[in-house]
């Protein structure tokens, strides 16, 4: 049973990571920096709870805010470049963060032992949950409450003008400027929101594994972060969730019996999925409630007209 709770926890924190990239991707920016924000979010509240004895809730909110602040600062210069240059710039930032934590040693004595980030060895003993008597299922429920709150907030944002504005900027920057949208504000705003969500995810992640080290937050994690929303489709937040379930639940855990062949199949399935559903599993247009509830007439009309283009 603990295995499934553990899996549910991984899926939960990775959903947060994917959603952080989702917000930024809506504006058409491919950011490889999300793993960096996730790392900042992991080290910050780890320090808060393990080193200074803070409660978990303020700790992860502070983690989100710190990541958001850094994302905002990074956003200004990084979003001046586009396309591949942005990928390179954000990738460089992510590596900077990782190497910063690789070199960071800052330990304090607490209850007779030294705790804190210790360079290459990582940050051990982030034991807030076991120390406070949280059982595995408590932690799992806690994670999914956070995921649900974030998803509800983004679902709301998607239906508000802010969501439409992000998508407009993602579709055509010149047209977006011509109707009076401030591109810098929109992009940096999306980056900041993404940083906040990544920070939350990282903060929770640090507490579920109790030991974090720099190697986890590398390019592979950054790639996963953007792969989730792209594979799931940018139409709705549920695309990201489904992609995380698909990758973490099915491809990584479900196919474990295949041993080393798993990674091969993993790649093949992603290629297959992208070919069958080039705009993601759930597509790029936000499905409307009435479509989901079964008023199919208009939906087929929409699909036909999409094909016609």
């Amino acid at each position: 049973m603990d295995f499934y709770f553990g899996l549910a926890q991984i899926i939960g924190v990775h959903t947060l990571l994917g959603l952080s990239a989702y917000v930024v991707l809506l504006t058409g920016q491919v950011s490889m920096a999300q793993a960096g924000f996730y790392a900042i979010g992991a080290y910050t509240p780890g320090a808060m709870t393990a080193m200074f004895g803070l409660h978990i809730l303020p700790a992860i909110v502070i983690a989100g805010l710190v990541s958001a602040g850094i994302a905002c600062i990074v956003g200004f210069p990084a979003l001046r470049v586009k396309g591949l240059m942005l990928v390179v710039a954000t990738l460089a930032f992510g590596e900077m963060v990782r190497l910063f934590f690789f070199n960071l040693t800052w330990q304090v004595e607490r209850n007779g032992e030294l705790v804190g980030p210790n360079g290459a060895e990582g940050f051990r003993a982030i034991r807030y949950f076991p120390q406070n008597g949280w059982e595995v299922w408590h932690v799992t429920v806690f994670i999914w409450i956070v995921v649900a709150v974030v998803m509800a907030a983004l679902w709301w944002m998607d239906r508000s003008r802010a969501g439409a504005v992000l998508r407009a900027v993602g579709h055509d920057e010149i047209a977006a400027q011509s109707i009076g949208l401030n591109l810098t504000a929109v992009k940096v705003g999306a980056m900041t929101a993404g940083g906040f969500i990544a920070g939350l995810g990282g903060g929770i992640y640090a507490h579920t594994v109790t030991h974090i080290e720099h190697g986890v937050f590398g390019v592979l994690l950054a790639t996963f972060a953007i792969a989730y929303p792209i594979l799931g489709g940018l139409g709705t937040v549920f695309g990201t969730l489904i992609a995380v379930l698909f990758i973490q639940g099915f491809l990584i855990e479900g196919l474990r019996f295949m041993g080393d062949w798993r990674s091969l199949l993993f790649g093949a399935l992603i290629v297959l999925a992208m070919n069958l559903r080039p705009t993601g599993l759930l597509g790029e247009h936000a499905p409307r409630m009435k479509h989901l509830l079964g008023l199919r007439g208009r939906k087929t009309e929409t699909l036909e007209s999409k094909e016609a283009n």
Partner: protein, 255 residues
């Protein structure tokens, strides 16, 4: 109202726009014409701020727009359409108007309701614009599903959604038939009757001559004539620019 003063844009050695001065009065339809490559679209891009001018200024009601970013100019009341239509194909028709509500009128709204109130694409303002553009029945379709003519109408409606004082139409008749052109002329008059000043850049002569109050003609980036449609048509420099210098030679021979 909208004044260009000694406006120039040089791309390396090419003088795309070269010392153009114009004054467009409130409530008029002003036509800007010229042969291909004469600098019409560059002029529009200088007014909206897509390009920074090499020299010169753009002022609206005495406010200097020259140093302003594009979104600030929209807030001041400058809106435009594009020669090659640029809609948000991933949004619905109504949402295309919703995201465009960034003009001076809308800026009074508070931050939270302005950005995070859901369902605002069903506001009376947007309904009115959709009816005005005869797109009301398509309001929930993706903009990419519209026909070419509908896209043109939506793009004009989107520009109007920012409550502009002056609307720049960059070749709105491109790709349209002559009958469409006549409908378009009515639509442009309707826009003017809403209290929006129109700057019309166009190739279709019938359209420009028929509805413009005044016309300016560009050739090789310079203004070669300005006046009423009749005055411009009678101008020999204009005829030379459009028909080639051979026409001018013939005139000389006959003289």
């Amino acid at each position: 109202m909208l004044t260009l003063e000694n406006l120039s844009k040089h791309f390396g050695g090419v003088h795309a726009v070269d010392g153009v001065s114009l004054t467009i009065h409130e409530g008029e339809i002003f036509g800007l014409i010229g042969p291909n490559g004469s600098g019409k679209s560059t002029t529009v891009n200088l007014i909206t701020g897509l390009y920074a001018p090499t020299t010169g200024t753009v002022t609206l009601d005495g406010y200097d727009l020259t140093a302003m970013a594009q979104h600030e100019r929209t807030a001041m009341g400058v809106a435009r359409t594009f020669q090659n239509i640029r809609l948000f194909g991933n949004l619905t028709v109504a949402q295309n108007l919703w995201v465009a509500q960034n003009g001076h009128e809308q800026r009074r709204a508070h931050f939270l309701p302005r950005w995070f109130k859901a369902g605002g694409e069903h506001s009376p303002d947007i309904d009115e614009l959709l009816k005005f553009s005869r797109l009301h029945s398509k309001r929930d379709l993706p903009a990419s599903a519209l026909s070419f003519g509908e896209m043109r109408r939506l793009e004009m409606a989107r520009a109007l959604a920012s409550n502009p004082r002056v609307l720049l139409l960059d070749e709105p008749a491109a790709g349209a038939s002559l009958e469409d052109g006549q409908l378009l002329a009515e639509r442009i008059r309707d826009v003017r009757d809403r209290g929006v000043t129109v700057l019309l850049i166009e190739h279709m002569m019938e359209l420009v001559m028929g509805i413009s109050d005044r016309i300016a003609v560009l050739n090789f980036g310079r203004k070669i004539a300005e006046g009423s449609p009749a005055e411009v048509q009678a101008n020999s420099d204009v005829r030379a620019a459009y028909l080639g210098s051979k026409h001018k030679d013939e005139e000389l021979i006959h003289a």
